[in-house]
């Protein structure tokens, strides 16, 4: 095996307990439920499909856990959880299966942008929702792995090494993916801001908020 065993995998104790007794899988499930769900939701844009993918991901992980071995690629950081990388790779594949069977590209769900602004600030809420929608839409327009890298980095707070493990690329390649994705998003957002400024003066200025 080319990988090395990570010295301090934060999930080692939980994983070993779950391997010894499948009923002990619950702590791992609770720990990663939201992260897996977030990845699915940002990929598929639909709550029901995200729940479906999350369910299948955890059932598959539970079924495959007895054969899981803790190991990590050379370029994973010392804090990388190999279980988390394994779980997200399962999720990524289940999402790909889902896409393959659905054969459709879901539209952006605007409900994701709700709740960004304070509920009593109607005007601010409207502006924030609009800007969040713009950011969300910009991310959704990114090509596959760039979008996944952005979601894993910004929503799931994964390290570059972990993302590299999940996407099966080198850490350098993931850094370039993220950099290019940020450039694209920045270009799109500034374009949207220009449009907003021309239609509503001062709306795109960050200092105005």
């Amino acid at each position: 095996m080319s990988g090395r065993v990570v010295a301090l995998d934060p999930d080692r104790t939980l994983v070993r307990a779950a391997q010894a007794d499948p009923l002990q899988f619950d702590p791992l499930y609770r720990k990663y439920l939201a992260q897996v769900y977030n990845l699915a939701y940002h990929e598929l844009g639909d709550h029901h499909e995200a729940e479906d993918v999350t369910e299948r991901t955890f059932l598959l992980a539970l079924g495959g856990l007895p054969r899981f071995q803790e190991a990590a690629p050379e370029d994973a950081g010392p804090e990388a959880s190999t279980f988390r990388v394994w779980l997200f790779r399962i999720a990524r594949n289940v999402i790909a299966n889902d896409r393959r069977t659905q054969r459709r590209r879901p539209t952006a769900a605007l409900e994701a942008a709700a709740g960004v602004a304070a509920p009593d600030d109607v005007e601010g809420g409207a502006i924030a929702r609009s800007e969040a929608s713009a950011a969300w839409a910009a991310v959704r327009r990114l090509p596959g792995d760039r979008r996944r890298a952005v979601v894993l980095r910004f929503v799931n707070d994964l390290s570059t090494g972990e993302i590299a493990g999940i996407l099966e690329r080198s850490e350098g390649a993931v850094r370039v993916l993220l950099h290019r994705a940020l450039r694209t998003v920045a270009r799109e957002l500034s374009h949207d801001d220009d449009h907003a400024r021309s239609g509503r003066p001062g709306a795109g200025d960050p200092g105005a908020r």
Partner: protein, 256 residues
């Protein structure tokens, strides 16, 4: 060529700077710091975009109802896995981690048509060239049909050589038991079929039947004579086949 290489290096350097900036930006959120790190080497538009993504890409959580329902389902599946392990014997379970019956669930088996996913879960690659994905998935999850040579022969070497790929011997122990059971069933079916058939009418079969009847008759006679205390003095008893031969010889005028 040199220019291309220089461009590649330049973007890698930029990517590294952006990555460091993102690391600091996201760490600032974790420690609830009010300040945002300023890095003059990173393009201001990129910094602005990163801050917006950090603030505006919302983290969602599934409903409590979904969470608890899935937790119950996982617990039920865990109990089934425990029972399967207990039924398979503790020693074998410790030596050979079989793919669990959970993966044979039709809903999950369909997922295993994806070869990378199958490899990740330590199940035989189930991609079917004919496209019969569901059935192939179920077969793949079945330890009986898992082959130790499948993993080596698969073209997806990247997935299989991955250090995250669960490793371990392929289970084959159950195969012998099932083959034996299948042979037993075939044997029982043959015997039943043979018994229901009528007696064959060809000359060879008649001869065999006659020889068997003669042997049985001889055995019965010997037993009777032994019971009467005459076994030592009585010679071989002519069998029915022997009588037939004798009669035939007599008819042809040959001596007995």
């Amino acid at each position: 060529m040199i220019l291309q290489s220089a461009n590649l290096e330049a973007i890698e350097v930029e990517a590294l700077q952006t990555d460091r900036y993102l690391e600091a930006l996201l760490a600032a959120v974790e420690r609830r710091a009010a300040d945002v790190p300023a890095d003059a080497t990173v393009d201001p538009t990129l910094r602005r975009a990163a801050r917006r993504l950090r603030d505006e890409l919302v983290r969602t959580h599934p409903s409590f109802r979904f969470e608890e329902r899935l937790a119950r389902r996982l617990a039920d599946a865990a109990v089934r896995m425990r029972l399967a392990t207990a039924a398979g014997g503790e020693a074998e379970a410790a030596l050979i981690p079989f793919p669990t019956p959970l993966l044979a669930d039709p809903m999950l088996a369909a997922e295993l048509a994806n070869p990378e996913l199958a490899a990740l879960l330590g199940v035989r690659e189930a991609a079917s060239p004919t496209g019969v994905e569901g059935a192939a998935g179920v077969m793949a999850a079945d330890p009986v049909v898992a082959s130790p040579t499948t993993a080596a022969s698969t073209p997806r070497s990247d997935a299989l050589t991955s250090p995250l790929r669960p490793a371990g011997p392929r289970p084959l122990l159950v195969g012998g038991a099932v083959t034996s059971a299948a042979l037993s069933l075939a044997g029982a079916a043959f015997v039943a079929w043979r018994l229901t058939r009528g007696a064959p009418a060809d000359p060879m079969a008649r001869a065999v039947r006659a020889a068997r009847a003669a042997r049985e008759a001889a055995t019965a006679t010997t037993t009777r004579l032994t019971a009467a205390g005459l076994s030592a003095t009585v010679g071989p008893v002519p069998t029915r086949a022997g009588v037939h031969t004798l009669n035939a010889n007599l008819r042809r005028g040959r001596p007995a």
